[in-house]
């Protein structure tokens, strides 16, 4: 019987209240929901804990300020935020401010600085009851937020305004989102991150789910309110206004719980948003939570269809298409927020209003879906190209550990060596195959040993090749995270936790939907006078790409230089195609494929160790620009680089097809003269782009062909 999965829950208890009444005015209803949800109690508990006077107690409100018109419906209504400020003042809390950080739109629209945006969007800086308040820019006054080592946001700064506030209120809009399904409190929390190019930094450079998890854990809010007085529904709730008078508010001390109910009221699965799903799976809802109020879905609510959600998410995997889509599809009052450049403005004028009514106009809906998928496929093609032929153009992936190092004991590390060494003993009795690899199978996983002597003096070798980085130096490693847990008195790493991401193996698996290999490992390192060994064991694979990826790498003094031994146990998930095509029924073919793939992988890993020993960089890929868009640009922005890359690939392919039509082998058509004769350039004159495209297909064919040939042996 399969083990029943239970949700993780946090120890705190909480309740969420929904108050819905179309007869009341919004200010009264807001006051009622806050009273029911224990708002003042929550403030008083925090104030008592900090032992502060009311007037010094700093309360920060983070509304959803994704506003592109005066009091537009895509964000929290400024007048409701001012009502909340008045309520706080009435209770004696006079130190209240509103805050948000600059968003991606400030890269392509004018007047998006937080103060100016607030003014134009309807914040008056003095409430109707005469209470003045500040609007703070969370992109300013940034300081180290002390995110822990191993987290996706390690080293990231946050605004001091946020960090030093005594009580933080997340006041989000009840709205849908074309990529996430819904965009509630957790989505709004992402808005506190300081860098302007939010999509670039917090969705592409870092994984948005990991960013959300780190923010939720380490920069939490004290109270969450959802403005559902006039909700924004439809397929594009973050982008276009489509008001629905739901006449309600949702409030809770738990952000996740408020979002949970908000999603249920939309008739959606609370796990639909990848942000909420990641945090719910990691942190869970409060224990013994209570939901008070009507949980029936809003009548007439329209949510984004699966086609829109899926195609948008795929489209947004590319920095170029995401940037273009943001600027071209956003409905915006250009009198208040003019476009910074003419091209964006023109494209927006053509596309935004044609593609905004996707819920009422099937041509717009399917048009947008088709455009999204076309752009997504282009991006997949680009990634495939890079993985197969241009690895240095890939960006390395910064990510977070999925291991809670505070919960690890010495025993977790000390047990690894005893787990690995028996495999080496088994392999000692295995005969080497035609590639010199010793291997056996256990529980569907392969165990193997690979040895090479590198002609570099042992002392020189270990000085240059850090054994603690040996796993990261393995072939096709494209990023990860590493945290030292324990060091010896010589400051050498003894225990460490590490997350590694590798390109799909073999690389051509990417064409069949092969995933990156993504594994979290614990490692223990042993040092002797003439040897050092790193033992590792996989404890988690975030994308289920690996069942086993355990092993040992040893550097030992040898008369020929340094003897490098790798022992490993591996079992990786295959793409669906290769799961259906069960190669176990062809044992000879399997043996040949496995031997070839592993010996290739490890001979290239040895080449990386040699490179490191010679002082060369053994890693593939390039680092992201972590300050992108923060200052005036020097050089070419990544989107343009991306566009050039795509353009050169596609132009080359098109040119090849056009010119090659009816041309003699190896020749390129130049045109037809007035007498009807067609002229061809010699093969040597074919341009580099065309040659690149041609090389793509021939090398792709060669890569697959090499493995397919083995089927016949």
């Amino acid at each position: 019987m399969p083990e029943m999965q239970t949700l993780p829950t946090s120890t705190a208890s909480a309740r969420v209240c929904i108050v819905q009444n179309e007869q009341r005015n919004p200010a009264d209803l807001l006051a009622e929901v806050l009273q029911q949800a224990g708002f003042e109690d929550a403030i008083e508990r925090k104030r008592a804990m900090l032992n502060m006077g009311k007037s010094y107690f700093c309360i920060l409100i983070k509304p959803d300020m994704e506003l592109f018109d005066h009091r537009s419906n895509t964000g929290t209504d400024p007048l409701l935020v001012e009502e909340l400020i008045d309520m706080l003042h009435e209770k004696g809390y006079t130190n209240v401010a509103v805050a948000d950080a600059e968003g991606s739109a400030s890269l392509w629209l004018d007047n998006r600085e937080v103060l100016v945006l607030a003014d134009l969007a309807g914040y008056r800086f003095v409430t109707s009851k005469g209470n003045a308040y500040d609007v703070l820019n969370l992109s300013e006054a940034t300081i180290d937020a002390e995110f822990p080592a191993g987290s996706a946001l390690a080293g990231t700064e946050l605004s001091e305004y946020w960090l030093s506030a005594h009580f933080r209120i997340n006041f989000c809009k009840n709205k849908t989102d074309e990529a996430h399904g819904f965009a509630l409190g957790l989505y709004n929390l992402m808005g506190i991150l300081p860098l302007k190019a939010k999509s670039f930094h917090y969705k592409l450079r870092l994984k948005q789910e990991e960013v959300a998890l780190d923010l939720y854990r380490h920069a939490p809010v004290d109270f969450a309110i959802i403005d559902a007085w006039c909700s924004n529904h439809g397929s594009q709730g973050s982008r276009c206004t489509r008001p629905l008078q739901t006449c309600a508010f949702i409030a809770s001390e738990s952000l996740l719980l408020a979002d949970w109910v908000g999603a249920l009221k939309m008739g959606l699965d609370p796990y639909l948003s990848p942000l909420n799903a990641a945090v719910l799976r990691a942190c869970g809802l409060p224990g013994n939570y209570q939901m008070e109020g009507d949980l029936r879905p809003w009548p007439g609510w329209i949510s984004p269809s699966i086609h829109i959600r899926e195609s948008t998410s795929k489209r947004n995997a590319s920095p170029l298409t995401q940037r273009l889509a943001e600027a071209c599809l956003q409905t915006v009052n250009t009198d208040l927020f003019p476009f910074k450049n003419m091209v964006d403005g023109r494209l927006n004028a053509i596309l935004a209003h044609r593609l905004k009514d996707v819920d009422d106009n099937s041509a717009a809906r399917w048009g947008l879906t088709a455009i999204n998928y076309a752009l997504a496929n282009l991006e997949q093609f680009r990634q495939g190209w890079q993985v197969l032929f241009d690895k240095d153009s890939l960006h390395r992936i910064d990510t977070r550990l999925n291991v809670d190092i505070d919960k690890l004991s010495d025993a977790d590390f000390e047990s690894i060596e005893g787990y690995i060494l028996p495999f080496q003993a088994i392999l000692r009795y295995a005969l080497p195959d035609r590639n010199g690899l010793r291997r056996r199978y256990i529980d569907g996983s392969i165990i193997f040993e690979y040895i090479r002597i590198i002609p570099v003096d042992y002392e020189d070798f270990v000085n240059r090749v850090d054994i603690s980085q040996a796993v990261q130096m393995m072939y096709d490693n494209i990023g990860g995270a590493r945290v030292v847990v324990k060091s010896d008195d010589q400051n050498r790493t003894m225990y460490q936790a590490e997350r590694d991401l590798y390109l799909p193996q073999p690389n051509w698996m990417i064409l069949f939907g092969g995933k990156h290999i993504d594994v979290d490992k614990l490692e223990v390192i042993r040092y002797n006078e003439h040897s050092c060994r790193n033992f590792w064991r996989t404890v988690h694979s975030a994308n289920q790409s690996a069942e086993y990826d355990d092993g040992m790498v040893a550097f030992e003094k040898d008369p020929g230089g340094t003897r490098v031994t790798i022992v490993a146990r591996q079992k990786f998930a295959l793409p669906l195609f290769w799961q259906l095509f069960d190669i176990d029924y062809l044992p000879d073919v399997k043996e040949a494929l496995v031997s070839d793939a592993y010996s290739r992988f490890f001979s290239r890993t040895m080449a990386n160790f040699e490179a490191a020993a010679e002082g060369r960089v053994p890693f593939i890929g390039k680092a992201w620009d972590t300050r992108y868009a923060e200052h005036a640009h020097e050089g070419i922005p990544p989107e343009i680089e991306h566009l050039k890359y795509l353009f050169s690939m596609l132009a080359g392919m098109a040119e090849k097809w056009v010119r090659k039509d009816n041309a003699p082998a190896g020749a390129t058509a130049l045109g037809t003269d007035e007498l009807g004769f067609r002229h061809f350039a010699s093969p040597g004159k074919a341009d580099e782009v065309s040659e690149g495209v041609s090389r793509f297909f021939s090398e792709l064919a060669a890569a697959i062909g090499k493995d397919i040939q083995l089927l016949g042996k």
Partner: protein
């Protein structure tokens, strides 16, 4: 402060804007009604696409701006005359200065109209110029507004 700076310090402020080569003050006159009449000559230097660079003559990007500043309504009516297109082009509008940010700032609202006489846009170059000027004039105004903020913050 913004109101005064834009009337009397415009040439200095313009020096901070890349897309403006120069603003030269020609005339300042206080009328009997207390309005300030100001005439400036603007020389723009926008980054142009290569295909337009060779076709655009310096006069095409030079214009005389005649403005009348009304201190009571805090608005400024302006009229632009292009040195190249002269009577073929009519461009006029109003800029309004309002308190904003709870009294801590100033909001500048710019509204204008660019018109061409019949037949003026019958060439591709002229159509290109219409597009360039149509975005250049408001864009320069926005950049000037940002520059005045920096200018006023200077010690």
């Amino acid at each position: 402060m913004v109101w005064d700076a834009m009337q009397y310090r415009l040439p200095e402020i313009a020096m901070q804007v890349d897309d403006i080569a120069e603003i030269a003050g020609l005339e300042h006159l206080i009328t009997e009604t207390g309005h300030n009449k100001v005439i400036n000559v603007w020389k723009a230097a926008p980054p142009l696409p290569d295909f337009l660079k060779n076709m655009v003559q310096p006069d095409m990007l030079t214009w005389t701006d005649s403005a009348e500043w009304n201190p009571d309504s805090r608005n400024c009516f302006w009229n632009i005359e292009s040195h190249y297109f002269r009577e073929k082009m009519i461009c006029s509008g109003v800029t309004t200065y309002h308190p904003a940010l709870g009294g801590k700032g100033c909001r500048l609202s710019f509204e204008g109209e660019l018109k061409w006489h019949a037949g003026a846009l019958n060439s591709i170059v002229m159509q290109g110029m219409d597009t360039v000027l149509g975005s250049l004039i408001p864009s320069n105004f926005r950049k000037l507004s940002a520059a005045v903020e920096v200018f006023l913050k200077q010690p």
